[in-house]
């Protein structure tokens, strides 16, 4: 199993990876609060991007509504904590099945009735929007006024209830990103992974090769939704407040897809590298604009968009495939 997981990765790449991992493990010891916040965001988007990539990068199903799974996970765990004092790790046992069921619902509707391509993408947006409006009126979770978690005291970290210093969230997200990476690689090397790639490449040819495309597309949606839901739980306990307007917002869905798009669709390193590129660009823009004293709302997003545009134009297949080729990091793509 370990042998197959590292198959095709050059030894020096493994050494670089191990060094990077070691660096990120000790990073909170010397990182400023500012840098730590940035790293938390990076790993949040690396993890959610990796989860989204299962659907689009592996199985070729474009979801533009992944905020739905973040939001459901966040609200389920937060509401159970607020109302019943249920620890988030137990809440996860409720949050994950809820998100998985939502994914299964969308998948069933789409794949049974042959809603494909852009229409599928529109369906994912629609369900996320319906859910946002639904939560705007759900009194149990505070409706549009928001749901608030009791704010933590930073005196000590309580991993069980996820109350504590940002460094704790950082480690949880770092571990989640590492887990998602290994899980995705294992899935790609499995029978299911091959069938996903076949569906992505040519669904009709995949069916002719005997693949039950409905089943494997359903698996992709459900696994992706379940994994994304975990990020929602962390989101809720990190920010301590939830508003349907924010957490279910389509801009959240778009942010989730940026990292894998920029880093390299369907690749394993892409979402992680992409998250670094995007956050670095975003922060650099913010700092630069501050430095020049520009304070118009929206300027930051505008410049961010322009820079991303240039990145996509320069390396259309993604930053990771480009980097990997330039530096000879891989023997072969998985």
């Amino acid at each position: 199993m370990i042998g197959r997981l590292t198959e095709g990765i050059r030894p020096r790449t493994l050494i670089i990876l191990a060094a990077l991992l070691a660096f990120f493990i000790v990073a909170p010891l010397f990182a400023s609060d500012y840098l730590l916040t940035m790293l938390i965001l990076i790993f949040y988007f690396a993890y959610t991007g990796q989860s989204w990539n299962i659907m689009m990068g592996f199985a070729g199903q474009l979801s533009l509504g992944h905020a739905l799974y973040v939001g459901l996970g966040a609200y389920a765990a937060a509401a159970l904590f607020v109302h019943f004092g249920m620890a988030p790790w137990l809440g996860l046992a409720v949050a994950v099945p809820i998100s998985a069921a939502a994914g299964a619902f969308i998948g069933f509707l789409a794949f049974r009735f042959r809603v494909a391509g852009v229409y599928f993408a529109v369906l994912t947006i629609a369900v996320a929007e319906f859910t946002r409006i639904g939560f705007d009126h759900l009194q149990w979770t505070g409706a549009s006024a928001g749901l608030f978690l009791p704010v933590a005291q930073y005196a000590h970290n309580d991993l069980w209830t996820l109350r504590g210093h940002p460094a704790m969230f950082y480690y949880v997200l770092l571990a989640a990103t590492a887990f998602a990476f290994i899980a995705c690689r294992a899935m790609l090397q499995s029978r299911m992974g091959y069938f996903w790639l076949a569906i992505r490449e040519d669904e009709e040819a995949a069916r002719s090769a005997g693949i039950d495309t409905f089943r494997y597309k359903m698996l992709a949606v459900v696994i992706s939704a379940a994994m994304t839901s975990f990020a929602g739980v962390i989101y809720a306990f990190y920010y301590n407040n939830l508003f349907p307007e924010q957490v279910f917002n389509i801009s959240q869905s778009i942010l989730i897809i940026l990292a894998p798009m920029v880093g390299g669709l369907g690749t394993l390193f892409g979402p992680i590298l992409g998250a670094f590129v995007i956050e670095t660009v975003a922060e650099a823009m913010r700092t630069l604009l501050q430095w020049f004293g520009v304070d118009l709302p929206g300027t930051n997003q505008l410049f961010f968009g322009v820079v991303l545009l240039f990145v996509v134009l320069a390396v259309p297949e993604g930053v990771w495939p480009w980097l990997s080729k330039r530096m000879g990091l891989m023997e072969r793509e998985p």
Partner: protein, 242 residues
């Protein structure tokens, strides 16, 4: 001798047009059966009904003693009928070996087993040396053989080939003919092919069915069929080289 595939009275209409009109024939186990006819005769529609892309409006399709008309393409493939497409459809971004491994995974749970089987199939189709290339980088003759390799890797009892010779040079056609003959001899694989290249049909087929305007107009051995006046009139033309 029992038929592996028995098609009886199969009809398919597209709006007003009758694409396939009450076609009946039997493919004996171990045979190579060719369907020929001019463009628009309904050959590919007939194929698509056998492969599960279309459900026949009427008629029955029996495979290995079971009714398969109307089953989905993936179910039909799992029962042992594998097909190629007239316009090749490999998985372009994947390597040649992965294309074939996907086929081999149909009846194998383990990826290494499937890979080993895929390599065997690639050797038979003269593609082993190109197994690390992306499918999109292959030439047309190679892609045609890749299409056959992927279909073959699913361990079919019956292989449906939709114009695999089209666009090939004579040397490539001969290579494909040799490979298909080997598969038929050694693998005891039954083959049903649609073909325009008469040179290949004459060399391969044990039975030929001729279609015209959706209907079967002649059936028999290749020698009989090419002498049938109805066939010469509608398809081959008077001065056909036999």
């Amino acid at each position: 001798m029992s038929a592996l595939l028995a098609v009886a009275g199969v009809t398919k209409r597209f709006r007003g047009l009758i694409a396939v009109d009450r076609v009946t024939f039997e493919v004996p186990a171990g045979g190579i059966f060719a369907v020929i006819g001019p463009n628009g005769a309904g050959k590919t529609t007939l194929f698509n009904m056998i492969a599960g892309v279309f459900r026949p409006d009427s008629g029955t399709i029996d495979f290995a003693g079971e009714q398969i008309a109307g089953l989905s393409p993936d179910r039909i493939c799992r029962r042992g009928i594998s097909r190629t497409f007239q316009i090749v459809r490999p998985f372009p971004a994947l390597k040649v070996e992965d294309n074939v491994t996907i086929g081999a995974l149909l009846h194998r749970k383990s990826v290494p087993d499937a890979r080993a089987h895929a390599r065997e199939v690639l050797r038979r189709l003269d593609l082993y040396g190109k197994r690390e290339q992306r499918a999109s980088a292959l030439t047309l003759p190679d892609r045609k053989r890749l299409e056959v390799a992927r279909a073959l890797a699913t361990d079919p009892k019956l292989l449906l080939l939709d114009e695999v010779m089209a666009g090939l040079r004579p040397t490539e056609t001969d290579r494909m003919v040799r490979i298909l003959k080997e598969l038929n001899d050694e693998g005891r694989l039954t083959i049903l092919l649609i073909e325009h290249v008469m040179r290949a049909v004459m060399a391969l087929a044990t039975h030929v069915l001729v279609m015209h305007h959706g209907a079967a107009i002649s059936e028999g051995s290749p020698g009989e069929v090419v002498r049938d006046p109805a066939v010469i009139d509608s398809y081959l033309g008077a001065e056909t080289v036999v």
